[in-house]
Structures are given as C-alpha cells and as structure tokens.
Subunit: 121 residues, 2 copies
Amino acid sequence: MYICSDVNRFSMKNSQLYKGSLTTIVMKLLEENGRMYGYEITQKVKEITKGELKITEGALYPALHKLEAEGVLEVEIENVDNRLRKYYKLTEKGTSETINRLAELEEFIKNMQSIVNPKLT
Amino acid sequence: MYICSDVNRFSMKNSQLYKGSLTTIVMKLLEENGRMYGYEITQKVKEITKGELKITEGALYPALHKLEAEGVLEVEIENVDNRLRKYYKLTEKGTSETINRLAELEEFIKNMQSIVNPKLT
DNA sequence: TTATATACATAAGATTTCTATGTATTAATT
DNA sequence: AATTAATACATAGAAATCTTATGTATATAA
C-alpha cells in the first residue's frame, strides 16, 4: 500500500503575485543554465529565493509539457542512477520568446514599482 | 436595441505576469487615495502605467465585490450627474492587510530580480 | 525499517482573468 | 439629428493557471 508522507512536498503560502510568472521563471533559468530537469528547477528556485518560493510539481510538470507542445522547449530523456530524468532546453523559438518575456518582466516590475512608489515616477 | 461599440473597452495584450496582482494594485491605490470608484481605478492604472496595463471591468468589479465581502473594503454609493458611483475605501482590516500585501510585493519583486539577474545576488 | 530525497505524472477543484454582453446617462462628433 | 465615445455600473461563460491530493518508483539516511 502506498502511503504519502506529506512533508514539504508543496508550497504553503506562496503569494498570489507569483501566479503567471512560472513560465517566465522556467524560461529564464533554462536560458541561464542551458538545460535542466523538472526537479532541478524546483530546487534551484527554492535556493535562489532562499526558500520563499516553492514551485509545486502540480504546476511545473503540466507547464513544462505545455511549453514543449508549443515548441518553446525540447526534451532529452536520460537515465541516471536507474532514475528517469527529462532534461529540457530552449528551442530557437524558445530563445527568442525568452527575450520578449524578460522585457515584459522588466516592464511589469517597473509598472508595479510606479504603482507602489508613485513619487519616484 | 442595444449595440455594443467595442472600441478600447478591453485590455489587449496584458502580460500574464499581472495575474495575481490586481487586488494588491487596488489596495495600494486606495491606501494612497483614500477612496476611489471602479472606473476611476481603471483610469488611474492606465495613467500610471502609461497605457501599458488596462484593467478589465470583468476582472475589476468581481474583485471589488469579493474584497468588500471579505471585509477588506467598504463602499459608499453616491449619485453624481445622474450616474451611480460606488466609492470604495479600505476598512481597518483592509489597511493592515495592505501593509502585508505591499511587503509581499517587495519580496516578490526582489525574488524575481534575483532570478532574472543572479549576478547581483 | 521507516522516512526522506530524488524524479516523474495526472486529476479534481478552486481561483482568477478574459471575452462578451448588458443597461444607462452625458458629451462630443459628424 | 444621429451616431459614437466616454462615463459607470454589472454579470455569465470560457479559458487559463495553480493548489491540493494522490500515484509510482528508486536510492539513501536515520
């Protein structure tokens, strides 16, 4: 019988703000690191944000599959220590898409800062 | 007969990134301006972001109703030029919630910048 | 031997947002 | 005079995304 030991498998209080930013984060990390597999992405994000953002598997894997279906990512399956790994990397299309996404992110951050701190604008 | 003249009533290419930030934006604007009505909020955001972010009515009005139901906002209905206006302002609870939200927003922006620009971290 | 870490997956439900439509008044344009 | 645009609210259906929960499987640490 399978027993699920639910310790730290999920994010707990991820701010609503992160909604909509998952694919941008994934694409940026892949641009930076060449290729990564799903689990590695979750760990990397946790590390970068000092544990503040925990990407859930239920969000990540479907997102990766969608990006692959859209031709943004391509996958290489490997076997490491008898364990399956699916390495993802940006396609050519994905690379140019990432440039757009990062520009959008910069604009977004600028706009949010304008709203939060209208004096500086 | 009613004819809908659909010019500029909706946002067009709002980045996915804005998903999840609507209530934070609304709360911050109300903290800043004391009280505002829905239409005013849409115009203010358009102005602040120089037309880049256009809040849709289909998103805003349900969000305002929900925040009111949660006790974050309270409403004062007024009649101006034969037109209905519903002014919203933060409740006491809403004011303290806003402080939390803005802290979360700062963290979020910091984390997103860490991801985009890992060298500076 | 039990739990944790690694590594994938999907389905149900909740939530949010977009698109489209609806009503109504006033102001501007043609 | 008639039409369009602007002001001001509203809601319903669909789409998209994310959370929660569950499932399978191997390797390692306690």
